[in-house]
């Protein structure tokens, strides 16, 4: 019986890759978030952590749900094919989640930088200062 071995290999690889992607996101996403939150590192770290928690929940949940198979494994070849199949599916989902996260970082950063934009249209004219101080 190869099934238990296949499950074990599948779980080990899937969870290891999940941890690796999550740590990469956590490490490299921080700089985007710090900029998005205008240098507020505390808030950026908090959001970064929350994003990673969500990432873990979705991925580990998906890994757990995708474990079950009805395949009957009689040969090592069938076992390897099953594990490969399952891990391929997990990697694709991880990849999509990863790009989704990058998109979220990008959106937050772009919005965060909006406040720096100068007026997009030139004034029609200029009134000589001084303007009345208090109206």
């Amino acid at each position: 019986m190869y099934i238990e071995g296949s499950y074990a290999v599948y779980l080990a690889i899937s969870l290891a890759v999940t941890v690796w992607v999550a740590r990469t996101l956590h490490k490299n996403g921080r700089v985007f978030l710090v900029e998005a939150f205008q240098g507020n590192a505390e808030l950026a770290d908090s959001v970064n952590h929350l994003l990673v928690v969500g990432f873990y929940l979705v991925n580990v949940g998906w890994v757990a749900m995708a474990l079950r198979t009805s395949a009957i494994l009689d040969t090592p070849r069938q076992a390897i094919e099953l594990v490969s199949d399952k891990i391929g599916g997990i990697l694709l989902v991880l990849g999509m989640m990863h790009f989704l996260n990058l998109y979220v970082f990008h959106r937050l950063r772009r919005r965060g930088l909006e406040y720096l934009e100068a007026p997009p249209v030139a004034p029609n004219m200029h009134m000589p200062p001084p303007l009345p101080r208090e109206l």
């Binding site: 007026p119 004034p123 029609n124 303007l131």
Partner: protein
Amino acid sequence: MQTLYVIYDPHCGMCTEIKDWLVRQPTYVPLRLVPAGSEQAQALFPRTSADEIAVVSDQGDVWLGNRAWVIVLWALKRYRGWALRLASPGLQPFARQAYTAIAHNRMGISKLLGLKSEAELRGHLERVVIPPCQI
């Protein structure tokens, strides 16, 4: 730039309605609304005609017509993205339509900003009817 003064026509139903909407919006640059023809408006920018808004900065820059509508959107936290888009020469003539659509939340306005082409966005804005000014 610390303050933008928006000179609007106090006798126009639509303008006062828009003014009421404007004062509720979160801003990057504080907006001060000044009724046209008042003493304050005279001191700020004497030459404004009653039927058009004028925006005057505390540094003496004056925006009129479509540019004024773009600058008002630029000052608003939620709609700066719109101002940056509307600043292009092809869309600037529709700044007032865009403003009307945003203030009345027509056409699922936030979705429209995602439109890729300028022509597409212009096509939507062309259909916005600016309500007539009733005295």
